[in-house]
Chain length 398, copies 2
C-alpha cells in the first residue's frame, strides 16, 4: 500500500474533479477486511487496509466522507484526505444510510465493473448486503458502475506518480543489465531469477507482481513462455535465446519490461538470421503500436496496428493484449490495448488519454532458439507516446 | 500462497466430501487477475494466482475441473489436484457453459457470501458477467452461496494444517520472549516492532497480517489500541504496561497472539493492584470462553460466556468478537465467536466443529497504566478446546 498521504490527497482531489467532469453526483467505495479481499482503488484513495466494513464517499461537490470502524478512524484521519470521518462499533448501516439519504445523489457510482478488474473490488456478497442495508430507501436504483471514474483516476498519472514510475523503470533496467553480466552457460532459469531477486532485496524492494513469477525467465526453445515460475529444468545454452519478463515496485509504483539475449557459442558467434529477423519483426510491430498510441485512439486500434504489422511480416498473432496500464499495479486496470476478444470485455473500447502510462509488449517464438519478447513502458503525451524505458533496439549478446 | 500440492489435493478431497455431506451438486469458484482481486479460497484449492478469468469446479461425485487461460494450464496441472484442465485463449464462456450444462447440477454453490468475507471472493462485476455468460441457460437460478462449503473446508483443519499452525505459534512465542528481553525503558513502539520484524526476517518469515500493523505495540495509557501501526510517539515507560499483538506466518499458516508486560520502575516494583485485578478479570473471561468452546456450541454463545464474565467483574465489554478462526489467514473467515451485532452478519450463528482452530482474545484498559490484551490459539477437540499456545497466566515483568 502507498504510505504517502500527499499522493492520497492528490488522487482524492483528482477524483472530485473527475466526478464533476463525468457529471456523476457521488462515488462510493464499499469494502471490508481488505487484507483478504482488497479493492485495488484503496491504494489510490486511502493507502491502508480496513478490517471492518468501511465506506468511502467522494461527491461531485468535493466532499470526501469515510465511515469506518472506530479502531480505524485515527489512521484514516491521519491521511488528511477526508473531510468527514464517521465511526461505528456494532454496524455501519445506520450511519451509511443516513449519510447517503442526506446526500440524496442522482447516481451512486459503485466499486464494481464487469470488464475492469481494477474497478471490481466489491464482493458480490457485500453488494447484496449493501442492497439490504438500503432496502428502505430507493438508493439502490441509483447504482452505476464506477469503472469510468476509476479508469480516469488510475489512468491519468500525476507528475508525482510519473516520477515514481520512472524510478522503478530505472531500477528495473539496472537489474536487467546486471543479470546480463551475471548469466553464464549452464545456469538454470531459477539461478537467474534468484539473482534478480537478490538485487531487488539488496535494495529493499519488492517485485511488480507475484515474487515467485517475477521475473519469468525462459532459456531456449523448449522452456514454456507464460505465467510459469522459473525452474531448474532449463539452462542458459549456447546458440539459444534467454528471455526475461521483470519489473520492480518502488515507492508504490511498478515497471514492467521484457528483455532478450542471444547466448553466443563463442566470441565470433552472432545471432542467426532467423533470430535477427524475428527480432526485427517484433520491433517493427511494437513501433507500429507505439505510433498508433495517442490521445483519442481506442485501445483496440492500437493493438490492431501492432498485431497487423506482425501478421503482415509472416508471424502468428500474439495471444494477449498489446498493452496495459502500469501504475501501482503492473496490470493497472482501465483501458487495455487489446483485441476485441470476449475475455477483455469493454476494456479495449476505452479512449487513450494524455497522462496514461502503458506497458506495450509482444513477441515471437523462433523455432529452435527460443522466445523473443519485447516490452517497453511509455507515457502518452499530447501528440503521442514517449518512451519511459530505453527501448531494446537489437538482440543483446550474453 | 501455499506452494504445497499435497495440501491442495488434501483440501480438494475434503471439498468433495463436504459437497456430499451438504448434498450440494457442485461448487464453482470463479475468479480473474487474482493478484489484484484474490479469492481467499484459492490458497486452499489452487495455491497460485490466475491472470485470466478462471473457473474451478468441484462436484459431489468427486470431479475437479479447472478452466483456465492457456498460459496457466501447466501450473494448474502441476498441482495434481484437478481431474480435468481445460484451456482457452479468447474467452472462457463457451467452455464454461458447455461444462456446466453437461454437469447439469441442481445447485451451483458460488464464491460469494454476505457474511463471510473469506467466502466472498467473487467480484460483483464478475458475477454480473457470469450471469450474462449463462443467459441462454437457466443455470443462474441454481446459484447458492458457497459459504457453508467454504466454512467447513477452511474450518476443519487437517493434521498437516494443524502441524503448520503449531509451528507458527512456536516461532511467534519465541519472538515474544526475545522482545521481552530486548525492550528497555525509553524505547519507542516502533523500535520494538522493528525488532520483531528483524527476528521474522532473519528466519525468512512474513507476518500473519499486514507487515506495517503486525505487531501492534502499545506502550502506556495514552497509546491508542487498535489497528494503528506502531509509531515513535509512545515509549516503554516505567510503571506502565507494554502490549503487543503479533503473529508469524510460516509454511503458509498463521499464529495470532497477544502478550502484555508490566514495566517495573525498579527491581522491587511489582504490578499495582489495579493491573493485577485487570489481568485476572481478563484471564477469567478468557477461560470462561475457552470452557464454552466445544463442538455443537454456536459462535455467539462462546462470545457471550466470555463477555458476560468480564461485565460481571465490572469491566466494560470489549468492542470486537471474542474469537476467530486462524489458518492460512490470521482472520480465517467462517464462524466468528462474536456477538450478534449487525457487522458480523450470520457468522456468530455458525456451529463449532472438532478440528476448528481459533484465536480467542479480549482485553481491558487499566486507567493510568495501559492495555491488557490476552489472545491465545486453541484447537477444538471432541470434548472441548485445547491450548495450542502456552497461555499467559500472569503479567510478565519487563
Amino acid at each position: 500500500m502507498s504510505d504517502n498521504p500527499t499522493l492520497i490527497r492528490e488522487k482524492l482531489d483528482q477524483a472530485a474533479a473527475i466526478l464533476q467532469e463525468q457529471q456523476v453526483d457521488s462515488w462510493l467505495t464499499f469494502v471490508r477486511e481488505t487484507s483478504l479481499t482488497p479493492d485495488p482503488c484503496l491504494d489510490l484513495i486511502l493507502g491502508m487496509d480496513m478490517v471492518w466494513q468501511s465506506a468511502f464517499i467522494v461527491t461531485r461537490t468535493g466532499e470526501r466522507i469515510a465511515i469506518v470502524g472506530h479502531h480505524d478512524a485515527e489512521n484514516v484521519k491521519a491521511t488528511g484526505g477526508y473531510t468527514t470521518v464517521k465511526t461505528y462499533v456494532q454496524g455501519i448501516r445506520d450511519e451509511l444510510v443516513r449519510i447517503l439519504v442526506e446526500l440524496n445523489p442522482s447516481q451512486i457510482a459503485l466499486n464494481y465493473s464487469e470488464s475492469d478488474v481494477a474497478a471490481d473490488g466489491l464482493g458480490h456478497g457485500l453488494y447484496r448486503l449493501l442492497e439490504r442495508y438500503l432496502a428502505d430507501t430507493d438508493l439502490s436504483s441509483c447504482f452505476i458502475s464506477a469503472e469510468a471514474i476509476v479508469n480516469a483516476l488510475r489512468g491519468r498519472k500525476s507528475p508525482d506518480e510519473l516520477a515514481r514510475i520512472r524510478t522503478a523503470i530505472a531500477t528495473t533496467q539496472s537489474i536487467f543489465r546486471a543479470v546480463g553480466s551475471f548469466a553464464r552457460h549452464g545456469m538454470t532459469e531459477l539461478q537467474i531469477a534468484n539473482y534478480a531477486h537478490q538485487l531487488a532485496s539488496e535494495r529493499g524492494l519488492g517485485t511488480a507482481w507475484d515474487w515467485d513469477y517475477c521475473p519469468t525467465v525462459s532459456c531456449g526453445p523448449d522452456s514454456p513462455v507464460g505465467h510459469g515460475g522459473p525452474t531448474d529444468r532449463y539452462t542458459v545454452q549456447p546458440g539459444t535465446l534467454m528471455h526475461m519478463d521483470f519489473g520492480i515496485k518502488e515507492n508504490g509504483y511498478c515497471a514492467d519490461l521484457q528483455r532478450v539475449w542471444y547466448v553466443p557459442r563463442n566470441e565470433q558467434d552472432i545471432p542467426p538470421e532467423a533470430v535477427t529477423r524475428g527480432f526485427e519483426a517484433a520491433r517493427s510491430a511494437l513501433l507500429a503500436g507505439f505510433k498508433a498510441l495517442k490521445p483519442g485512439a481506442l485501445g483496440w486500434e492500437v493493438d490492431a496496428a501492432a498485431r497487423q504489422t506482425l501478421v503482415n511480416a509472416g508471424y502468428p498473432e500474439y495471444e494477449h493484449a498489446f498493452g496495459h496500464h502500469v501504475g501501482q499495479q503492473a496490470h493497472d486496470g482501465a483501458t487495455v490495448l487489446g483485441p476485441r476478444w470476449e475475455r477483455y470485455g469493454q476494456t479495449p473500447f476505452g479512449v487513450i488519454e494524455a497522462g496514461n502510462v502503458f506497458a506495450i509488449e509482444l513477441g515471437v517464438a523462433v523455432e529452435g532458439y527460443g522466445y523473443i519478447g519485447l516490452e517497453e513502458n511509455v507515457v502518452v503525451g499530447k501528440d503521442g507516446a514517449q518512451w519511459l524505458s530505453d527501448p531494446q533496439t537489437e538482440i543483446w549478446l550474453l
